[in-house]
Assembly symmetry: C2
Homo-oligomer: 255 residues x 2
Amino acid sequence: MNRETAITAAPDAESPLARRLSQYLDLTYSERDALRALEQERHEFEPGDIIAREDEALERMYIVGSGWLHASTHLQDGARQILRFIFVGEIATMFSVAWEYSAATLTAVSRCTLYGFERTTLGQLFREYPRLGALLYAVAAAEQVAMADRLTSIGRTDGMARIATLLLDIRSRLRAVGEISGSQFEVPLTQQDLGDAVGLTKTHIGRSLKALEKTGLVEREGRLIRITDVNALSDIVDFKDRHAHIDTSWIAQKH
Amino acid sequence: MNRETAITAAPDAESPLARRLSQYLDLTYSERDALRALEQERHEFEPGDIIAREDEALERMYIVGSGWLHASTHLQDGARQILRFIFVGEIATMFSVAWEYSAATLTAVSRCTLYGFERTTLGQLFREYPRLGALLYAVAAAEQVAMADRLTSIGRTDGMARIATLLLDIRSRLRAVGEISGSQFEVPLTQQDLGDAVGLTKTHIGRSLKALEKTGLVEREGRLIRITDVNALSDIVDFKDRHAHIDTSWIAQKH
DNA sequence: CGCTGAATTGACTTCGGTCAATTCCTGTGG
DNA sequence: CCACAGGAATTGACCGAAGTCAATTCAGCG
């Protein structure tokens, strides 16, 4: 873990995790406070920085305050698989909740800031704010379904559809956290990265990307991506946004 | 939902969910009782029966009491992807926790019995037994990592390795719930099913399966599978058992 | 004993991988 | 301000793993 700088967060800053969770459930003031308490100690990272390494001990948990990163694994033959991208308001260390070590390597995609806290604090949160516990569980379930979607994309569709799905996914997540200004967005990933995410070679990413452009549904200018007709593309590749809405009616109402 | 028969569970039967969870955390009597309360209404299914259908409303939740099933999705072109297999003591409806509908189709693989309960009961559980909430969260995180493993397998390895990984995974899960007698186990799946699980055609499953047999590490007799050297095969395909152990030290101790 | 769905086998095709050369950027230092 | 270095992208030729299609065999079952 390098380039980290522990600073106390501005006390009045709104918590990114709270912002994200309150999309789904109306939170009380004390619940918001409890979430803010998770974001004491701040760390800054530059693109490419490695936050945690696969199989290495990882005691603390981290929440994304700004920017985005990805989780990946490496095989013996040197191949890499990017498992998921992680955005503002998410628990970056989801892959190490269940063990004393991290099951994946965490790498910064853009400049980003993370907030760290003790793992036992999470246990405390479940104990004192059960609604938040239930909500985190629901979000984890949604995330699992999103991952199942990627599995389907990789297992059963061709190169063009895989990339299209990935771009739609990244777009909708960036939008959800308000990191997209206009109709286009920046994807600071190399073709190698894209390939490792969707299970293709960088060479073939180039070919598929070009084929995708030829359909007219996607435009590209360096690292800037513009999807001209999101609905049309979503229909073609059967993309579903798993984060726009989640049902929390089974969780107790606010008081 | 067909062939269902609502019967009250034998009051002294041990809860499969409790049995599974207590592998990871020492549960109190009242926690065990709370878990047993989830298993009131019982349903029986035959192999091939469909328990829930993708995109259709699914209000209740189901826990697996015996047997196993799988969750799948279907694409417009008729292709199918099996997302995961679900075993005794798991929440079968994980893919519908976050919505009013199911994100996957649930199909019985073997004869199996499920226990249904109201979704709000889950909210209650989080409220009254926060340790169980935290534990369910940890298990969901582990499950997400297991799914990430499958993603890697499908995205970055060849046919033989994909099948080998799948067989090792099924074996270790069947063992975990005590459904394996000797060194071999029954896999009541067609080659089509296996293909839909690992992203290959049924034809190619046949070829890969035969290649796998030729290595001498796997033997096959109809639906019976025997892995002669589990450790050797695990090393070759880099298989990791994500369920043997999970860390719960961050969850409060029993009283 | 014949029917049906699954498994096996073979011939041929294709999508994506491999390898390698070339071009394009972008940042850097003279 | 320009030359240069090095990574990324592009392009092309060729290869191979997996898909497709179809015929044949097998196994369970009424």
